[in-house]
């Protein structure tokens, strides 16, 4: 059997071994794979980076623990970036199973930066009817949320003085696992003209690109890859998504290498005949 024919008929166990190594080794060896940053992620990052101390940003955490792996890194990175710059955050959680998870995240990051509820951030929590809540917040945050998640009145909070509705926030960055994303685009951006950027799961990403050219959203982060791109821009210490993405990249390269080997073998041995 010629060399090229061998390339075509490698024992499957070699393939298995290489895949195993490709997945296992990157878990141990610290190295980075460059992530090519797409413009739609960069525009989110550039926007957050352009915020000044004291500016207010609205972050929507509308997912539940089942999609944490993809969306949590985005929320985490953006919140850290904001707190480091002294940007004040208003955070809502409009997914039924999400508020507890979002609360953990908020308290974790606020402790890291020693930020205080009501002064540096305001966690609103959950209200049913997301579409209605989003519309009502366009009038006044206090309609759906007279108090925050912890039961503190919004009027008593220093950071909420003079903050009525979306007019007083720079933008909304919404982390979405479902149709609530449409409501942010249609209601918050469409009706109240507040800039919206989305972080969505990998499967949803393809459906939301269409809102970019019409500027209905000014940025989009899709799945693990979008999260890894954002992490590579933010250059923070903890990079959950990058770690996972690194393994995915190596594994995909491995699969592609095998496809190439098979095809090279196929063409070269055909040419010989």
């Amino acid at each position: 059997m010629s060399f090229y024919e061998k390339m075509m008929t490698l024992d499957r166990r070699w393939v298995y071994l290489c895949v195993g190594i490709a997945v296992a080794v990157p878990l141990f060896v610290p190295f980075t794979v460059p992530v090519s940053v797409t413009p739609e992620v960069r525009s989110v990052y550039d926007f957050v980076e352009s915020l000044k101390e004291g500016d207010r940003l609205f972050i929507a955490i509308d997912y539940d623990p089942t999609v944490m792996a993809e969306l949590q890194p985005m929320s985490l990175t953006i919140m850290r970036q904001c707190f480091a710059k002294g940007v004040k955050l208003i955070i809502s959680a409009l997914h039924q199973n999400g508020p507890g998870m979002a609360e953990q995240l908020v308290s974790l990051v606020s402790k890291e930066f020693d930020k205080k509820s009501g002064v540096d951030y305001c966690y609103l929590g959950y209200k049913p009817y997301p579409g209605l809540t989003i519309l009502a917040m366009g009038q006044n945050f206090r309609i759906p949320f007279p108090q925050d998640y912890y039961g503190v009145s919004l009027d008593s909070m220093p950071m909420m003085q003079g903050v009525r509705n979306y007019d007083q926030v720079k933008a909304i960055i919404a982390m979405e696992a479902g149709w609530v994303a449409d409501s942010w685009i249609r209601d918050a951006n469409g009706r109240y003209k507040v800039p919206v950027a989305l972080g969505v799961t990998g499967v949803m990403a393809a459906d939301y690109f269409q809102y970019l050219p019409s500027k209905q959203i000014f940025g989009l982060m899709g799945g693990l890859k979008g999260a890894a791109e954002y992490e590579s821009l933010a250059k923070q210490k903890e990079r959950q998504a990058t770690g996972r993405m690194k393994v995915q990249t190596i594994a995909h390269i491995m699969v592609i290498i095998f496809i190439v080997i098979g095809n090279v073998g196929f063409f070269m041995s055909k040419r010989k005949k």
Partner: protein, 242 residues
């Protein structure tokens, strides 16, 4: 040692047992497989029994029975006996002479679900798909984000590529309609795939292949994630290496 630690060890050893199948079939795998089959069949029976049989059958009938005893009236919960009747007929298969009675149960299940699926799929796979495909053949599909994303169009290749993508996006509706149409022609059974008709069927096959390739490529990521999860279990939770 806590039961958790023992459990993790057992899980890890069985995990390795299944992985060993990649090399070749061996006693280690056979053991894991045999245990897996037994436990899963037992688990499934127990769960179905407590979560379906008891609440749906037993509880309803005991309710009917207690109504009869206390109030002396026959209430509608006795209707669950019909399910039990068909169930018992099913078990009659084990009695060769009257085993044919189990056909009644099969007839009931298959007939009911056939009636159910008939309207359901006519709607979801027929009417709604046609409605979704009826779209104006205009060129207003959202353009790609070439302008938006600031592609670097410095050389000729870049320009050609950008124009190509633009054309693809511009004719999206055409491609969608033509693709669906040709795909349907491929599935046409009354005529041999020859001539113009065969050509259209061929285009249909191309569309099918694009879909299959895309689905395959798309799935690789989620399959790799599963393996990463197992590696985490072995190296992280079991061995505690990171």
């Amino acid at each position: 040692m806590s039961s958790e630690v023992i459990g993790i060890w057992i899980g890890a050893i069985l995990t390795l047992g299944i992985f060993s199948f990649l090399y070749k079939d061996n006693p280690f795998y056979k053991f894991s497989e045999a245990l897996f089959v037994g436990i899963s069949a037992g688990y499934w029976f127990v769960v179905t029994f407590w979560q379906y049989f008891v609440p749906k059958f037993w509880d309803n009938l005991s309710l009917a029975y207690s109504e009869l005893l206390t109030k002396g009236r026959v209430d509608y919960h006795w209707i669950y006996l019909v399910g039990g009747f068909f169930g018992v007929l099913m078990l009659l298969r084990l009695v060769p002479k009257i085993g044919w009675l189990s056909r009644w149960s099969l007839a009931f299940i298959v007939g009911t679900t056939a009636g159910l699926q008939f309207t359901r799929y006519l709607e979801s796979n027929g009417i709604l798909q046609v409605k979704g495909t009826i779209m104006p053949l205009d060129l207003t599909y959202p353009k790609p984000f070439i302008a938006h994303t600031g592609f670097i169009i410095t050389d000729i290749l870049g320009t050609i590529w950008c124009n190509l993508l633009n054309i693809l996006y511009t004719y999206s509706h055409w491609v969608l309609v033509v693709g669906t149409f040709c795909g349907l022609i491929y599935f046409f059974f009354s005529k041999e795939h020859k001539g113009v008709f065969g050509g259209a069927a061929r285009v249909g096959v191309w569309f099918l292949m694009i879909t299959f390739g895309a689905l395959f490529g798309y799935t690789v990521m989620s399959r790799m994630s599963l393996l990463i999860g197992r590696m985490d279990y072995l190296f992280g939770i079991w061995l505690g290496l990171y």
